[in-house]
């Protein structure tokens, strides 16, 4: 794909389909707008998978390089968002594979290392949040990815199946396992957080 410069400021407000058409015809400004439009979201998604800010930045760069390389192969502009997410997930997985950082921790091993909740200040919300993030990173890569795509990015199971290139039933299984695991850990070590919210729900 060759680029030629086009000084068209109106491109900034154009939709993705228009930008992609311009990119394909060689407009580098259109590609720049596309990158700047999505770079923060790409970095956020990559960060949730790889777990490090600088690594997420590197992955985000790789994502846009792949978009540049394969944009001519992308045929359906309506699904650009899903296609982009697929590239993010693949690039993140490739990065972790290269760094050899795939590892889920079995639940019983994980629980054994934790300090019982009674010995720490359970009202310390910051500690709780940090712990939650650690627990999230102990999920398998696929479970964590499916969970965050569903809960944070709002994708449906069918869309996640397309992004991750796995069957719909596998997506549901990942979501089920992820929710159950996180609930079990919170219930064991920070039960007051579940009870507190439960009281709020009941009163409402």
């Amino acid at each position: 794909m060759e680029f030629r410069a086009l000084s068209n400021p109106e491109l900034t407000n154009r939709d993705d389909a228009t930008l992609i058409r311009h990119c394909r015809s060689g407009d580098m400004l259109a590609f720049e707008i596309l990158v700047k439009r999505y770079e923060h979201r790409v970095m956020a998604v990559a960060y949730r998978i790889v777990g490090d800010r600088q690594d997420a930045r590197d992955v985000a760069q790789e994502v846009f390089i792949r978009v540049y390389r394969y944009l001519n192969q992308f045929r359906n502009e309506r699904k650009f968002f899903t296609w982009l997410y697929r590239i993010i997930v693949n690039a993140s997985f490739d990065f972790l594979k290269k760094e050899q950082r795939f590892q889920a921790v079995p639940l019983d091993e994980l629980s054994a290392d934790l300090t019982p909740a009674t010995e720490i200040d359970s009202a310390d919300e910051k500690m709780f949040k940090q712990q939650l993030l650690l627990w999230l990173n102990t999920l398998s890569l696929s479970q964590k990815t499916a969970f965050t795509l569903h809960e944070i990015d709002g994708f449906k199971c069918k869309e996640i199946a397309e992004i991750m290139d796995i069957p719909n039933s596998t997506v549901r299984s990942h979501l089920r396992h992820a929710r159950l695991r996180l609930k079990t850990l919170i219930e064991k070590h920070y039960p007051e957080y579940l009870e507190g919210r439960n009281r709020d729900l009941s009163s409402n």
Partner: protein, 148 residues
């Protein structure tokens, strides 16, 4: 609403334990959702310059890549030449050896019509096909089925 979901919803109305379990799952998910959103990296630095440089580097690398050296293509026709030579040799050998004769078969008919001939060994039938080429004879042996 599907049947399974209807059954589940109805069960939840009458089972406080299951309802509590479902609530905990929802709450846990919501808690993690909040934490993830709070933790998202906030940066004002765009990655565009880095992306642009990498693309430029790739384009330069692509334009300066040496064309693949043309390998001599003689190796493509060598196997074909060997095959043709082998056939030619077989033909020459056939010429020098003359017609194939089978001592156990008598009354060989020289016409092109296939004939079934019985050889000395009982129970074995032979069909002999004579072709246009006097040096080539096709002989097909098969056993007759014993009728009992």
């Amino acid at each position: 609403m599907g049947l399974k979901k209807w059954i589940a919803v109805n069960h939840l109305r009458s089972c406080p334990e299951c309802q509590s379990e479902l609530d905990k799952l929802r709450i846990a998910t919501a808690l993690v959702h909040e934490v993830i959103q709070d933790d998202e990296p906030v940066t004002s630095d765009s990655i565009w310059d880095d992306v642009r440089l990498r693309i430029a580097g790739e384009r330069i690398a692509e334009s300066t890549r040496r064309p693949k050296a043309r390998r001599p293509r003689f190796h493509n026709w060598v196997p074909a030449l060997i095959g043709i030579t082998a056939l030619f040799i077989l033909f020459l050998v056939g010429e020098r050896m003359g017609p194939i004769e089978n001592q156990s078969m008598n009354n060989e008919i020289t016409s092109n019509i296939p004939v079934v001939e019985h050889v000395d060994k009982p129970g074995v039938t032979v069909m002999t096909f004579k072709t246009d080429d006097p040096k080539v004879t096709i002989v097909w042996f098969f056993e007759e089925e014993n009728e009992s």
